[in-house]
């Protein structure tokens, strides 16, 4: 029987200038099927990656890339403490939550993520930023990686969400 797929949609994304840095605020709507939730409870680790690009808009050529970064989170269940752990793989910071939904809510929200220094932005020029989320349920040991060809039903990628930036 085919398993239901995960759904990822970027609901909102906006950039705010904080000092000399543009910070990103984004919200993701992540819906995991029941089997995926059970799999996380069973010990499977979910990895969520936000891929963010900022490029300068050019009229007659392809846009020129200005900045590109990834923000990665790992969500797993700690059976001994009966808590859900969210680890920021970029910073190594770890948080634990009593419920899975609280953990999911945590990874679905980006707050104050610095993405661009103002020195990189030329005044008067238009910039385009985009973001998408990639859910990877395949955080298995490498040796068993080939099995994911058969099992990786829940990994999913959201569509790109774009916004414009003008200084």
């Amino acid at each position: 029987m085919a398993q239901a797929a995960s759904q990822l949609v970027i609901r909102s994304a906006e950039v705010q200038l904080a000092g000399d840095v543009y910070e990103l605020e984004a919200k993701l709507d992540l819906r995991l099927p029941e089997e995926a939730l059970k799999a996380i409870d069973g010990g499977l680790t979910a990895r969520l990656t936000y891929q963010i690009d900022v490029s300068r808009v050019r009229r007659y050529m392809l846009n020129a890339g200005v900045a590109s970064l990834e923000q990665r989170y790992e969500l797993s269940y700690h059976a001994l403490s009966q808590r859900y752990l969210v680890r920021n793989l970029n910073s190594g910071e770890q948080q634990d939550f009593g419920t899975l939904q609280a953990a999911i809510d945590r990874v679905c929200e980006l707050r104050g993520l610095p993405i661009l220094d103002t020195t990189l932005v030329v005044p008067g020029r238009a910039y385009e930023g985009r973001i998408r989320a990639v859910l990877d349920m395949s955080t298995l040991p490498e040796a068993l990686g080939w099995l994911l060809f058969w099992t990786d039903e829940w990994s999913a990628t959201s569509s790109w969400y774009t916004w414009t930036l003008r200084r």
Binding site: G43, S76, H78, L80, S81, D96, L140, W150
Partner: protein, 744 residues
């Protein structure tokens, strides 16, 4: 290298490359399943390659099987044997593969299940519960300690300076924080080892404490180890103030934390793998199935290929045998191997080679025989001797042209018919076959006899010899009749003899005749005047008169002999036959001596000229007319007819002269000899008239026949050869020819 070799080499190369790819794909699948990191990334590609190989193999196999079915239905040679071999090879390969597959699937399934044994699962659960219980004891102790601290802070009237520090040290906490229910930190104490800034109170702690329930939780740390977070309500320290919350964080002993981490890690790992159990089994079984199908299809394809290789020489042999049976001895079978089959093919090729050589020898011998037969046929055709070969039952097998000409019967048209009874009744051929039948009836196989046969054309003498042919197996091979018409030869001999007699007579008798006559006349002249006696004188006169008369008679007779024996040179020229006939017949018309004989002349105006000696022709006509007129003596209404015609004889034009009368005709017994010298029925005459006529005819290459007419009387028919070119070209010329000699 020819196209077939090139094709074979290309096919072998493709097969080798395909086989190597297939082996590589299967080995890769095996390495993937053995958890090789390098291959696990390539797993989808390897699987795709294997499935593609599977599809290619299915296509190849389907093509081959369809071809086999078509051959079977079309009753192609060797298709049944090939199908049987494919079936046997296929079954022999399939059974063990299926057995291995069945046991491998069972083993795999049970093996994987054994990894996730219920006992192991339960042990891990128990270990987890045990660890959790051990930690919960600590958590309860720490919670109790936090509650004691909260009571003490409440008793002191709030978090007085130094109080939290002393309580933290006493309770062994890492951090103690007092905050309002909204989370605002009022006071905190933190150990030196930790960060200076207090962590704050999480929402879930505040939420639970607001519900008047103490909070305690075990928090795993990023670098390993655990912390115990506790939170209790302080209650309102001062009247009118918000309720406060006391949070204390305690470390878990390193040893205990490490052990707990180990249990957690094992539990998590087991959970991950348990989750993968089904896909693991499915993928292993799928891998095994793909490998099995590849092996199975390859085995079947190999079975078809092997059967084809084994059956091909047999098919070639059968085709070759059929070709040989249809006479194609140029068939050469390709020698594909050096085993027993190769020996068989070699023997077949050797056999066809020998057969071809034998057939060539036979053809050569047959050609030689045909050539010899053709030569013999030419010799036989040119022979003047008649040759007839008969079957043992005396049916005509072959007959040459001379036989046809001699017998006057187209024997070549009678091949296959019985020799007895050939020809019309009374014909020479019928007389000849009757005479032969009598000899055959005597039982004597080999004989030689001279037949004197009386046919419508006159008396014919045939010298015939019969020889039996060699035996064909146990039966008689037949007979050969060799015969010749010796009538002319005998006649020529007789004429030659007569000519010799005539010459001798002319020489021996004619010479003394003149002295005898002169002597008689002298006697008469000398003695007659001297004789006085009338009686003596009359006697002398009568005697001498008689002598002179008889001498004259003898002279005429000798002259006639001389004439017959003479062979004068012919003065040949183009002669208008009708004109000659008219000249001669006019002489006879003018004669009044025989008014009772009526002469009618019927001349064919189409008749042109003939090559002849005009004088001899006149003599010929004179003799015939004299003969006819003499035959009509004492006949009241004698009639003589003279006709000329342009007629066809055996494809040649001849000038036909017919002289007929209504006299008594020839005596039947003498009919065959009327042209012989001294054969005559008349009281007077030399008996040389018709003999001279025939001699003149033969000198001109003509043919003469004498017969009695049905309405009475005799008829002589003469054919003289006519040729237009000769007649036209020779008109007015006079040439000299030796008299023609008839074939003897």
């Amino acid at each position: 290298m020819d196209a077939a070799s090139l094709k074979r080499a290309a096919y072998a190369a493709v097969m080798a490359v395909g086989g190597l790819l297939w082996l590589a794909a299967i080995l890769s699948m095996a390495l993937t399943a053995q958890n090789s990191d390098q291959f696990s990334r390539l797993h989808p590609w390897i699987l795709m390659i294997n499935i593609a190989g599977l599809v290619v193999l299915i296509g190849l196999l389907a093509t081959k099987l369809a071809q086999l079915v078509r051959d079977w239905r079309g009753h192609v040679i060797g298709s049944r044997l090939k199908a049987r071999m494919v079936w046997i090879f296929g079954i022999l390969a399939t059974l063990p593969i299926l057995l291995v597959y069945f046991f491998a699937v069972q083993f795999l399934s049970r093996g994987i299940d054994s990894w996730f044994n219920v006992e192991i699962r339960r042990s891990l659960d128990d270990a987890l519960l045990l660890s959790r219980a051990a930690l919960e004891v600590r958590m309860r102790e720490h919670l109790a300690a936090t509650e004691v601290m909260a009571d003490e802070v409440a008793a002191k009237g709030g978090p007085m300076p130094g109080l939290l520090e002393s309580l933290r040290r006493q309770g062994g906490a890492l951090e103690i924080t007092v905050a309002t229910e909204s989370g605002a930190i009022i006071a905190a104490s933190k150990g030196l080892s930790s960060e200076v800034v207090p962590e704050g109170v999480p929402d879930e702690v505040l939420l639970q404490v607001r519900g008047a329930r103490p909070f305690v939780s075990l928090e795993p740390q990023p670098g390993g180890g655990y912390l115990v977070r506790t939170g209790v309500s302080l209650g309102p320290v001062m009247p009118g103030q918000d309720r406060l919350v006391l949070q204390a964080i305690y470390p878990v002993a390193e040893r205990l934390g490490a052990l707990a981490d180990t249990v957690q890690a094992a539990y998590k790992q087991f959970g991950e793998k348990d989750y993968l159990r089904k896909p693991l089994k499915a993928s292993f079984i799928l891998t095994l199935t793909v490998v099995l199908l590849l092996s199975l299809l390859a085995a079947w394809y190999g079975a078809i290929f092997t059967a084809q290789r084994l059956v091909q020489p047999i098919q070639d042999l059968v085709k070759g045998t059929r070709a040989v049976a249809q006479g194609d001895l140029d068939t050469r079978l390709p020698l594909t191997s050096h085993d027993e089959m190769g020996f068989l093919v070699h023997s077949f090729n050797d056999m066809t080679k020998r057969l071809r050589r034998a057939r060539e020898d036979q053809r050569r011998a047959q050609h030689d025989a045909e050539t010899e037969r053709a030569k013999l046929a030419i010799v036989l055709a040119r022979l003047s001797t008649g040759v007839i070969s008969l079957e043992a039952d005396r049916r005509v097998r072959t007959a040459n042209r001379a036989a046809t000409m001699i017998l006057g019967e187209d024997l070549e048209a009678r091949v296959g018919a019985s020799f007895e009874g050939i020809g019309a009744e009374g014909s020479l051929a019928r007389h000849f076959s009757d005479a032969c039948r009598i000899r055959f009836a005597s039982g004597e196989p080999e004989w030689r006899e001279q037949f004197v046969l009386q046919a419508g054309t006159g008396r014919r003498i045939l010298m015939c010899a019969c020889t039996p042919l060699p035996l064909e197996g146990d039966t008689l091979g037949g007979y050969v009749l060799v015969f010749d018409d010796i009538t002319t030869m005998l006649r020529a001999q007789r004429e030659a003899a007569w000519g010799e007699v005539a010459r001798r007579l002319a020489h021996e008798i004619k010479n003394p005749l003149t002295p005898i006559r002169l002597s008689a006349e002298r006697l008469r002249h000398k003695l007659l005047p001297s004789l006085t006696e009338e009686k003596d004188a009359q006697m002398l006169a009568r005697a001498t008169e008689t002598i002179v008369q008889q001498v004259e008679a003898m002279k005429e007779m000798v002259n006639a002999f001389s004439e017959y024996a003479r062979a004068p040179r012919l003065e040949m020229s183009a002669v208008e036959l009708n004109k000659v006939v008219m000249e001669v017949t006019d002489l006879y018309r003018a004669q009044d001596a025989r008014p009772l004989v009526r002469l009618s002349v019927d001349l064919d105006p189409a008749l042109g000229t003939v090559e002849a000696d005009a004088g001899r022709l006149r003599q010929l006509l004179h003799n015939l007319l004299t003969n006819a007129v003499e035959a009509l003596e004492n006949r009241p209404r004698g009639e003589v007819e003279v006709k000329t015609r342009l007629a066809q004889r055996g494809g040649d034009q001849v000038a036909e002269i017919i002289v007929a009368d209504n006299g008594p005709g020839f005596q039947p017994e003498l009919l065959g000899q009327v042209f012989d010298p001294y054969v005559t029925t008349k009281a007077k005459g030399t008996g040389l008239g018709l003999a001279i006529v025939r001699k003149i005819v033969e000198e001109h290459g003509g043919h003469i026949e004498a017969d009695n007419r049905a309405e009475g009387g005799a008829q002589v028919r003469i054919d003289l050869p006519v040729t237009e070119t000769r007649a036209a070209g020779a008109r007015g010329d006079v040439r000299q020819f030796e008299p023609r000699r008839e074939r003897a």
